[in-house]
Amino acid sequence: MPTAIVSTAVSTDPHLGGSVAHASAAATACLERAGIGPDQVDLLINVGVYRDENMAEPAMSALIQKNVGTNLDYLRSGRAALSFDLMNGACGVLNAVQVAGAFLDTGDAEFVLVVSGDAHPSGRPDPGFGYASVGAAILLSRTTDAGAGFGRVGTAADDGDTPGVVGYIDLDAVGTLGRERITVERDADYTDRLVEFAAAEAARYAAAEGIDLSEVLLVASQPTPTFAAELAGRLGIAPPAVVTVRGVDADPHSSALTFAYHQAVSTGQAAAYPQALFVAAGAGLSVACSVYRGVR
């Protein structure tokens, strides 16, 4: 049975000071919208990349899971749940759909909560960072409707010599400020390369899956403000059928696809389309695509 979206939610409150707080707020709202209790979540996957204080351990998912209230202590709950971080930039949420689908198919999970949140490690805005401090959550389960839900997730990696974007802590340079500093470098030709690569992969995916691009809602990530429009132009998709995140100044990064889809459904923009094509692209270069049928 295909994997379907049960509910989505986002977190944009500027008073929330970090990736864990944003992801937790979105996760809680997502479960409430679905009418699902935290003890019904079997698997929680966090696809956020940039962490509070540049934390490397434990998985941020464990801290988020604690805030959500899922399997705090098995000796008391008696109901197990697993969480982990899965990191692949904006593409991570579609990799999480792949992983969630496998756990749902094998009967190892009934509900999988995929959360995301990125933030500057200092907890303060930084104009050079380029990523928005927001969070998102998407609750997945199986659907009995064979014609609905996510289709195959297609992924591709570029063979180019440079990854386009690198994000790292230069520990030699930051001294005792390692919890507050992060370096994100973007190549000058990043946007052009990314649009070209993503368009080629999306077109290849659509052809392989038999998708008519004139009938889809394009849900695109937002590595640059013009990415979605340029991608749509290359694919011949009309502007009204293009969805990207509105009202957020910087790149929502790992939250971008969930965020864009959430807005499209909330505003009614998605209602006219029987299917959506999710396309994420980012560092590597990496691209991930998936069709989603039964948008509502």
Binding site: A56, E57, L72, F84, A157
Partner: protein, 349 residues
């Protein structure tokens, strides 16, 4: 029904050895106890620090993956998935990377051009989490094979601890137990009971997620790990494993004794920790523990790679034995625990 197996296992260990006595001698604060006798760790491997041959997490991971592929039926180009699970994400010296994913960069370095790639972070349970993901993806029919790889230049936290430990209950004492390494494992479909993963069951009990935190130090350059050892290693925490495994086996109509494991491999925190876990297991399951395999004395706690370093070491010394059944017990910040069982008859290292 599709089953899975460990198709190949690889490891890489740096050649430089640092003894616990030498490490403690570098500390400005001298502990009032013998760290070696408490932990059972005599020495650990430490990455090559010479600029021309520097070994960072990425290099350690790549060498382990190359070792794993050298005995696999698969070439890198045949891999459907590559999952990198390093906690320490050092690349290009002291740069600690967040993107692009380590998995993407490893895929490029190895030549796994068409593989689905992503990183997984789940503290010391990272590799087991990667195995759980591959196990489910293969069983769901989505992929045919995949590799989980991890390189850990984790002695970076020991370097910080040596400088900063200032009292007997310091939260960085555990950082002195770690060692550097790389490990990799390929999982694919099993067609014979002689080589089969029976289950990969993991859980996170998030109440205790704050007890062990790894992040950059704010007192010195570098990364540090802060552990509330008293709370982290309370007996109640070890009951999470035994209760979870008991309940899981009961649902399968089985029991620890009925599983008839030949070997148990615990997370390699220290020899006393392993002894305590076995003692607790024996009491909770009401049956003797199988032979407990360990490398903690010579490699220390290598974090994500520990179970597979033990397996690799065991297979190298003793060779694979037909029908041998292993139980792997993860224990990680989060806290993550669980039970992983496999019969391994024909893995060569």
């Amino acid at each position: 029904m599709i089953h899975t197996r460990f198709e190949s296992v690889g490891a890489y260990l740096p050649t430089a050895v640092v003894t616990t006595r030498d490490l403690v001698a570098q500390m400005s604060y001298q502990p009032p106890f013998d760290l070696q006798s408490i932990t059972g760790i005599a020495e650990r491997r430490v990455h090559d620090k010479r600029p021309e041959t520097f070994e960072d997490s990425f290099v350690l991971a790549r060498r382990a993956a190359e070792d794993c592929l050298s005995r696999s039926r698969y070439a890198a180009a045949d891999l459907d998935v590559i999952i990198s699970t390093s906690i320490t994400r050092f690349k290009d010296g002291d740069d600690f990377h967040f993107e692009p994913s380590f998995a993407h960069q490893l895929a490029r370095a190895l030549g796994a051009r068409r593989a689905i790639h992503f990183d997984v972070s789940n503290a010391c349970a990272g590799m087991m989490t990667g195995v759980a993901i591959l196990d489910r993806m293969i069983k769901a029919g989505n992929i045919r094979n995949g590799i989980v790889v991890s390189g850990e230049r984790i002695t970076a936290i020991a370097e910080t601890a040596v400088k900063e430990i200032g009292e007997v209950y310091d939260p960085q004492f555990g950082s002195l137990t770690v060692g550097d390494s790389g490990a990799a494992v390929i999982v694919d479909e099993s067609t014979s009971e002689a080589d089969r993963i029976h289950y990969v069951e993991l859980m996170t009990c998030s109440e205790y997620s704050h007890l062990c935190i790894g992040k950059p130090s704010d007192r010195n350059q570098g990364i540090a790990l802060y552990t509330d050892n008293h709370q982290m290693h309370k007996e109640e925490r070890s009951r999470l494993w035994t209760r979870f495994q008991s309940d899981f086996l009961a649902k399968r109509g089985s029991s620890f004794a009925a599983e008839d494991y030949d070997y148990v491999i615990h997370h390699q925190v220290g020899s006393k920790f392993i002894r305590n876990f076995n003692g607790h297991g024996e009491a909770a399951f009401g049956t003797p523990m199988p032979e407990s395999l360990s490398v903690v004395e010579k490699y220390g706690n290598t974090s994500t790679t520990s179970h597979f370093l033990v397996l690799h070491d065991h297979l190298r010394k003793a060779g694979a034995r037909a029908g041998a059944k292993y139980l792997f017990v993860p224990a990680a910040s989060g806290v993550v625990t669980g039970c992983v069982s496999a019969t391994i008859s024909s893995l060569e290292v």
